[in-house]
Symmetry: C2
Subunit: 429 residues, 2 copies
């Protein structure tokens, strides 16, 4: 099995995440790539701050990383648009696949970079540049490649979505929530990149370029931030059955012209995007063949970004080593086991039909208690007729086998007149 | 530019969609693949029923398609598990990449087929086999490849989701809604494959196998259908702040064992999956690096399935023609145009702050009317203090330029005491 060398430029919060998760999931990634990967050189400003990388692999000179013959793939995670552009061009010039999470770099210099990459026949991967936790770059480039994109709507700034969600949930004002977001680390000390829509505009430019196949510059994107939203607007929107989101809207008209804009937008409450809350991101894409689709996940943070960077590492490795990238079903767990339904542990909704007489609840509760199953909620609606009444319970986590035993015993009670209705509850916890 | 020949086995509803959409979006697909594709041979039971394919390319013998030297890629869309298995094996034996939408085939014979494919070094693509409108196979295999999958929750049967959605929205009973679904074509005459959970179990087996890297058979999946759900359950669930969905639940425990089950499940109302309504599908995936993600789209139908099949065609073409599948930014629209914000046409929410005196609404409405902007809703809350009162309007579609002109004139009115609050409305229509 071959080993490919990775070179990192920048090893701050995101770079640290890449180092940590690559080490942690190395076996998995190796099996899925069909090749080993190793971080062989890392360039940083301050060597003393890096963890998880042997010190003899550290340097303060990025050129050493790019030109190290042991480095096959270059990963640019330094941010900024000046030196980062030099790094990116040097890697491509050296014939080394480039992975970048730098949305500002691509939104400003994408056209130049991809032109160079095409000339040199070197791939550039950038899944992490837009919504790291959502594989939207791949979705547009591959999964939806047979589609003309009719529209794309994105909640692509987690800070703004957090602020608007809090304003909506708590009825608070913008300034108040902004302060809270800063205290919690969801907003930067200088909040303007986020709340004025600039970060979202960078991402919108990249998504629009991908969707429509020509480069759209950030200065061509209409931007309005969320500072102007007041508590009363959130409240009025709700009364009208809408929620307010900072939305990136990208659309093409029948003539093929494209609009790209980022601004606060009322979204109908019943639309899936309206339930995208907190720091989460989502991108809804409508294709002329596939219809409506939506992709949801974390937008930022070292973990989500590392997931995207590492998926690009896998693709770059595939590019380096195969003659066509055959990527059928790759087995990586030959000793997998299955849990049977009996062993499943979940919560339950149980609806009993019982005789309307005293002591019923005690009998039922005793049986659940005997089997170690807790009852978290009991509910008996008042509107019923006849002798039999419904009794609804939400149970705590229990093994299916225990639940089934308890259920059988309860059904055998003379006060229970019909089979119990049992439905499993999923809390996604 | 090279041309690759496609051979179709089966050309019913799904095959017809593939033929139609490939023809319609051929330029786009050609540019994105960097190669031409052509349907060169089609095997069907009844030649007279096929449209869109020249008759000299039709045959009733599938072996002729597989062994035609003009056919480079075989697409199996016939369904069933007996002859389809022969077709799949013959294609792989012949060294031709296989594309299939056949979930039953993979769920029953996947292990055998992929073993053969691995031996022969021939790829099998199956994006269309699970939720055609959601590129979930790619997401698991590529976008999330650096992740151990902690859990996967899927609404993966559109018929069941339609029925449960209608029961929830209208308070109707199962039998009543099933009849309606049949009348509308959302359920088959024999509904059991869908409502008894068998179709979802096939898909769950494939997703679980992909997520955990070992083959899980359908008979290892716990299945419970939705026939048992009564109107009262839907109603009680709602009172408890849940909705009932037919959910596929796939999880691994810390020891690496996997559970796979399909059954009606209460989902918290505030979870994104709870807003997945009607015939739509969604798959929520939690990875150990990326955290929570969700993918949403149409599950079935000729269009969504064709989108998935054609994305696999692009991948197969890439496999055939490149030395590593470099797939950077592919330009396919050199003459793209941008719409400026002025030309954008959308709906608006406008909140005015006006003096509390008669005739204000008439003045404002006259200005909007002069600029050809319709008012779809006016709302003036009663609880206000002072002379200035809020006046909220939802406007019909209007060009931004017109809206801005009207807005400026309204702000110049002496009865308007503060700048208007203007927010765009997105109805996703």
């Amino acid at each position: 099995m071959k080993t490919f060398g990775l070179g990192l430029i920048g090893c701050g919060v995101v770079g640290g995440g890449v180092v940590r998760h690559l080490e942690r999931n190395l076996d998995l990634i190796t099996e899925r790539c069909g090749a080993r990967t190793e971080i062989r050189r890392v360039a940083v400003r301050d060597i003393s701050k890096v963890r998880g990388v042997p010190s003899d692999r550290l340097t303060t000179k990025w050129l050493e990383v790019v030109h190290d013959p042991q480095v096959d793939i270059v990963i640019e995670l330094m941010g900024g648009t000046t030196i980062a552009l030099e790094v990116a061009k040097a890697a491509v010039q050296a014939g080394k696949p480039l992975i970048t999470a730098n949305k500002a770099l691509l939104a400003e210099s994408g056209e130049e970079l991809f032109h160079l990459a095409q000339t040199k026949g070197v791939p550039i991967y950038f899944e992490a540049s837009v919504a790291g936790g959502i594989p939207i770059v791949r979705a547009l480039r591959e999964g939806l490649c047979a589609n003309h994109i009719l529209s794309l709507h994105g909640i692509i700034n987690g800070t703004c979505n957090y602020i608007l969600t809090r304003m909506s949930e708590e009825g608070l004002g913008f300034e108040e929530v902004l302060k809270e977001a800063k205290d919690l680390g969801y907003a930067e000390a200088d909040e303007s990149l986020d709340v004025d829509g600039i970060d979202a505009a960078h991402k919108a430019a990249i998504l629009a370029s991908l969707a429509y196949g020509f480069w759209i510059r950030v200065d061509q994107v209409f931007v309005e931030g969320i500072r102007k939203i007041e508590a009363i607007d959130v409240q009025m929107a709700r009364r009208l059955n809408y929620v307010i989101k900072l939305l990136a809207t990208i659309k093409s008209n029948p003539g093929g012209a494209v609009e790209v804009r980022v601004h606060p937008t009322l979204v109908p409450k019943q639309h899936v995007l309206a339930s995208v809350n907190g720091v989460f991101n989502a991108v809804a894409v409508e294709g002329d063949v596939v219809g409506q689709t939506l992709f949801y996940g974390r937008g930022a943070g070292p973990d989500a970004t590392a997931s995207a960077v590492l998926s690009d590492v896998a693709e770059a490795v595939l590019h380096k080593q195969t003659n066509g990238g055959g990527r059928g079903f790759v087995s990586h767990n030959l000793y997998g086991k299955l849990i049977t339904i009996d062993e499943v542990c979940t919560r339950y909704y149980v609806r009993l039909t019982v005789k309307n007489e005293p002591g019923v609840l005690a009998k039922v509760a005793a049986i659940f208690g005997f089997h170690g199953i807790g009852i978290s909620s009991v509910f008996q609606p008042e509107d019923h007729d006849g002798d039999a009444v419904p009794l609804v319970m939400l149970l705590d986590f229990a093994k299916e086998a225990s639940l089934q035993k308890a259920n059988a015993e309860i059904e055998a009670l003379s006060v229970v007149t019909e089979p119990n209705q049992v439905i499993r509850v999923e809390d996604f916890s």
